[in-house]
Structure formats: structure tokens, C-alpha cells
């Protein structure tokens, strides 16, 4: 014991005087058995190595720039008592830890890791299980959240928290994470200039990814599956959405992508497969939808009121029950140059573009929107008849809502 003590003294002396820091080693059987003890010893810039074992600790505070690194597979068990790690310093790295059993509360947002005013943070390769909130970040700039696996128990409990929850942050990268069983997989409120890429967000109670009041962000190459709804983008500007996959978001109020009060966005090369509604847009202006694929959805696209300058080009609508549902006037929205699997026209000049325009709105979709129960008549002869008569002489659907240049072939088949 004396030997250990003197070793420690030497280390500390070295760390203080020479500025050369040996890592602080934590292990259940070692001289520093708790993370809390290591954190009190640590100086700015120190690395704390945490060796395998189960550490029953919570309410840990990181108040200076340090690196916390799990070696092997150490587990920190919060025993359902509040937040496990609270960070309030810049330049903190936390990696390779398994944090389990975060406290639950109706009024406090307990998290596995809570960061506040922590610029340039890195949270990498951690496993957060039975998280209430997983990562909760406030007022921080330039962070990296990469390779984490975050799961909660939201499917049973409606009062679950979010997996990655950012509030008033900017310049954050969220990459290669897996998020499951939470309220929202990723929630961004007042977050600017950030990117969300290559994450898999599934089986969440509400949304896979959720933007609120957040501008100039992009999300690419993510998969959103089996969530209450895939992605909700609300009250935000300049959001770029590229190469994502939205699938199996089924239910009465489920969407692949929900757009509400957003401006100047790009929705490019995404795939929407088997959602109740692929895209629902409401109060959305200057949105370009290019090269997306809509496969076997209930509704591929629903446009509600107050949408202006939305352009749908080069998309592929394949085997959806309804391609488009539309409220109100056409305004300056355009639907030219898409592929529609329901198109029955012809291409006599063989230029790849159909010679007669296509009407993507079926009369029956109006009836279903008003009286959802009528969906039971979907495959009946009567419905085919009214759809056909509306196609020949439009009365209820805006007569200028046409694809004047429907493509004869889908982009992929």
C-alpha cells in the first residue's frame, strides 16, 4: 500500500512539475477504484484509462479538459439515479465506455452524458443502454458524436427521452451512430451548421430525426426505419436531405418525412419504401425534390396548404396506392419529368417522354382524405370508374396539376 502511495505521489509530482502526464488508471482492484476518485486527481489534459469492471457511479462531474477512455469493456451503472456523467468543460473526450441505467424523471432531463458549454467535445464508440436521454448537449460548439450505440425503453413507456438531444449548438457532426427505442433518435433544437450522416435510427416512439428551429444543416446516408415517423423537419431553413432511406413508418399519423413550415430545402436521391405517407409537406416553400424513389407507400406525397415553389423532378413513383394527395390550388409547384408506374400513356416519337400528360392526383384520394373509412372501396370497380372519369374531365382536382413530360422508364428498375 505504501508503495502504491509513493508511486501515486511520484506521478502527481511529474504531472504537476514537468507537465508530462501518465494516464490515470482506474480499475476495481487497483489503487484508484472509482472514476470519481480519478476525476478529482486529474489535471487539465490528463487521460483517464478505465479498465474492465462494473462501476456503480452516477452524478460524476467533469469540470476540466480530460479524456475518459474505456479499455476493454468497462461498464458504468447509474442504478437509475439521475445523470451519469455531467461535462462542463471544453475539449473533453469520452470513448469506449458502456453507460447503463440512467435515472428517470417527469421533469428533469437526466442523461447518460450531459454536456453544457463544452466546445470541441468528442463522444465516440460508447454504448448507452437503458438511457432516458442518451447524450444531452447544450450550448456547445464543434463537437463530434461518432460510433455510439444508444438504446432506451421507449416502446413501453411514453415518457422516454431522446437519444442525441442538442439544444443551442452549432458545428456538430453526428456520424455512424445506432439509435433505438427512444422518443426521438436524434433531436435538434436551435442547432445550426451541423451534419447528421450514416446513422441508423429505428423503432423510436416519435421520430428518427427531428429538427426544430434549426438552420443550415444537412443529413445524408441515414436509415430511418419503423419509427413513429421517420424524420420531422419543422420551422427550419436551408436543410439538405440526401441519400437517406425511409422505410416501414406505418400508422395513422406516420410519415417517412414530415415537412412543416420550412424554407429552401433540398430533398435529393432519397428512398421512401412502405410508409403510410412518404412525404407530408405543410407550409413548405422553395423545396426541390429531385431523384427520389417512392416505392409501395400508402401515399407517396401529401401536399397540404400553403406550399409554394415546390419542384418535383426526376423522381420515381412506383406502385404506391396514391402517388399524390393535394390540397388547394397548384400555385407555382411543378411536377414535370417524373416516372409514374401508373402512367398508361404512350411514346410514339420514342424520346423517352410520354406524349400525353399524367395526372398524379386521383379523385378517390380526395374522398379518402375526407372520409378515411372509404378506403375499403379502394379496389372496387366504382372507384376505378370515378378515377377514370376525373382523369378525362377534371372537376375536383386542379386541372393544371399535371406531369407534362412523364418519363417512360424509371431511373432504376
Amino acid at each position: 500500500m505504501r508503495g502504491v502511495g509513493s508511486h501515486l505521489a511520484v506521478w502527481l509530482l511529474l504531472a504537476c512539475t514537468v507537465g508530462w502526464a501518465e494516464p490515470i488508471e482506474v480499475s476495481p482492484s487497483g489503487s484508484i477504484p472509482t472514476i470519481e476518485a480519478a476525476l478529482t486527481l486529474a489535471q487539465d489534459g490528463d487521460t483517464i484509462l478505465i479498465h474492465p469492471g462494473v462501476y456503480r457511479e452516477n452524478g460524476l462531474k467533469i469540470e476540466r479538459p480530460v479524456t475518459l477512455r474505456g479499455v476493454g469493456d468497462p461498464v458504468v451503472d447509474g442504478e437509475f439515479k439521475g445523470t451519469i456523467l455531467s461535462v462542463s468543460a471544453p475539449d473533453v473526450t469520452i470513448e469506449g465506455l458502456t453507460l447503463i441505467n440512467v435515472g428517470r424523471s417527469y421533469t428533469s432531463e437526466f442523461a447518460a452524458i450531459y454536456l453544457s458549454h463544452s466546445d470541441r467535445f468528442t463522444i465516440r464508440n460508447n454504448i448507452l443502454e437503458k438511457a432516458y436521454f442518451g447524450l444531452h448537449v447544450e450550448r456547445s460548439k464543434s463537437g463530434l458524436i461518432e460510433g455510439n450505440h444508444i438504446s432506451g425503453e421507449a416502446l413501453e413507456e411514453a415518457d422516454a427521452g431522446n437519444g442525441v438531444h442538442l439544444w443551442r449548438c452549432s458545428g456538430i457532426s453526428i456520424r455512424d451512430n445506432v439509435l433505438q427505442g427512444l422518443r426521438d433518435g436524434i433531436y435538434l433544437e436551435f442547432v445550426d451548421d451541423s451534419e447528421v450522416s450514416a446513422n441508423t435510427s429505428s423503432d423510436n416512439l416519435r421520430y428518427g430525426l427531428h429538427f426544430m428551429f434549426s438552420d443550415h444543416n444537412d443529413y445524408t446516408n441515414n436509415t430511418f426505419k419503423n419509427n413513429g415517423a421517420g424524420v420531422a423537419v419543422m420551422f427550419s431553413k436551408f436543410i439538405e436531405m440526401r441519400n437517406n432511406r425511409f422505410s416501414h413508418n406505418w400508422g395513422a399519423s406516420s410519415y417517412g418525412l414530415l415537412l412543416k413550415e420550412i424554407y429552401d430545402a433540398e430533398v435529393i436521391d432519397n428512398e421512401f419504401e412502405q410508409n403510410s405517407t412518404g412525404i407530408q409537406a405543410d407550409g413548405s416553400t422553395r423545396i426541390n425534390y429531385l431523384g427520389n424513389r417512392f416505392l409501395r407507400n400508402g401515399w407517396a406525397v401529401k401536399i397540404s396548404g400553403a406550399c409554394y415553389t415546390n419542384a418535383f423532378h426526376n423522381n420515381s413513383f412506383e406502385h404506391n396506392t396514391f402517388d399524390l394527395s393535394y390540397h388547394g390550388q397548384l400555385h407555382d409547384n411543378s411536377f414535370d419529368g417524373n416516372y409514374w408506374s401508373d402512367y398508361t400513356g404512350y411514346d410514339l416519337d420514342r424520346d423517352g417522354v410520354g406524349d400525353v400528360p399524367y395526372r398524379p392526383v386521383k379523385l378517390f384520394s380526395y374522398i379518402v382524405n375526407r372520409t378515411p373509412e372509404t378506403i375499403i372501396l379502394l379496389r372496387s370497380l366504382f372507384v376505378d370508374l370515378i378515377n377514370f372519369s376525373e382523369k378525362v374531365s377534371p372537376v375536383f382536382t386542379p386541372d393544371n396539376l399535371l406531369d407534362n413530360t412523364p418519363l417512360m422508364k424509371g431511373p432504376v428498375s
Binding site: 417527469y106 421533469t107 419543422m234 399519423s253 412543416k260
Partner: protein
């Protein structure tokens, strides 16, 4: 026999029109105003019209904004808001409201409701912000615009 049948039918019809509150199905129900799924038991709100139609909202600000936008408060027989921290619904007109940056609400207005006025004041002292009556709250939101 005929009388019993008549009674049954009339009671059924009456039941159908009853102005009753249907509990919110958290995690499934959708906000009538902003279309978000309702998940927050501390901030949800709801209303039932005199005709028995149900309206549910994920936040109190959505309820207030919809009432102000449509001018339809007089159509409602019941208006309820969540009592913060209690997971129960209380009358909107009787509640005391707190707007505090420390207590975030689903639609960014940081608005919560309390059944007990002294609890609202105590929370205000702890977290800061300002309290409002139902009428004061509507006034504040109508200034901000819909």
C-alpha cells in the same frame, strides 16, 4: 318491447353526443395544430367542443395558438392543460401559466401550466420567468401573432 328499444336507441344517441374527454393516447395521437406525435405528459393539452369533437395538442402553446388563429374558444365545452409535474389534466381557464427558459416545452415557447397558483409562483422563484392567467396568456400570444 318497443319502449325498451326506443329507450336503448335514444340512450345510445345521447351517449354518442356526450361531451366527454377522451384520454390522450401518448406516443400515438397527433397534435391537431402542429402534427407532431404527442409524447410529453407534462405539456400536452386538449379540448372537447360542445358537439363532442375531440382536439388534442402536444403542447399548451399549440392549443392557445389554434384558439387564437381560428377564434374558436367559444365552441369548446372543455379545455384542459397538463398540470406540470403531476401527469394529470386540469381546467385551462383555472390554471396558472409559467413561461420560464429553464422549463422547455415541446414547441419552443417554454410554457407550462400549474393547477395550484402557489406552486406556479414557487416554481417561478426557483427557475425564473413570469406567470400568467389564462386570459393574460392569450393576450401575450395574440401580441406575438399566430
Amino acid at each position: 318491447m318497443k319502449r325498451i328499444l326506443l329507450l336503448m336507441i335514444s340512450s345510445l344517441t345521447l351517449l354518442g353526443c356526450a361531451v366527454e374527454v377522451q384520454p390522450i393516447d401518448f406516443g400515438k395521437a397527433q397534435c391537431h395544430f402542429c402534427q407532431m406525435t404527442i409524447v410529453d405528459r407534462q405539456h400536452a393539452s386538449q379540448g372537447v367542443t360542445k358537439k363532442g369533437k375531440q382536439f388534442q395538442y402536444d403542447s399548451i402553446e399549440c392549443l392557445v395558438k389554434e384558439l387564437l388563429k381560428n377564434g374558436t374558444e367559444s365552441d369548446f365545452a372543455i379545455l384542459l392543460v397538463s398540470d406540470y409535474g403531476q401527469s394529470k389534466m386540469v381546467s385551462a381557464s383555472q390554471a396558472t401559466y409559467l413561461i420560464s427558459d429553464k422549463i422547455k416545452s415541446p414547441m419552443g415557447e417554454n410554457l407550462s401550466a400549474f393547477e395550484a397558483k402557489d406552486k406556479a409562483e414557487a416554481t417561478r422563484k426557483e427557475h425564473g420567468g413570469s406567470t400568467y392567467t389564462w386570459d393574460g396568456l392569450k393576450q401575450r400570444f395574440s401580441k406575438d401573432g399566430p
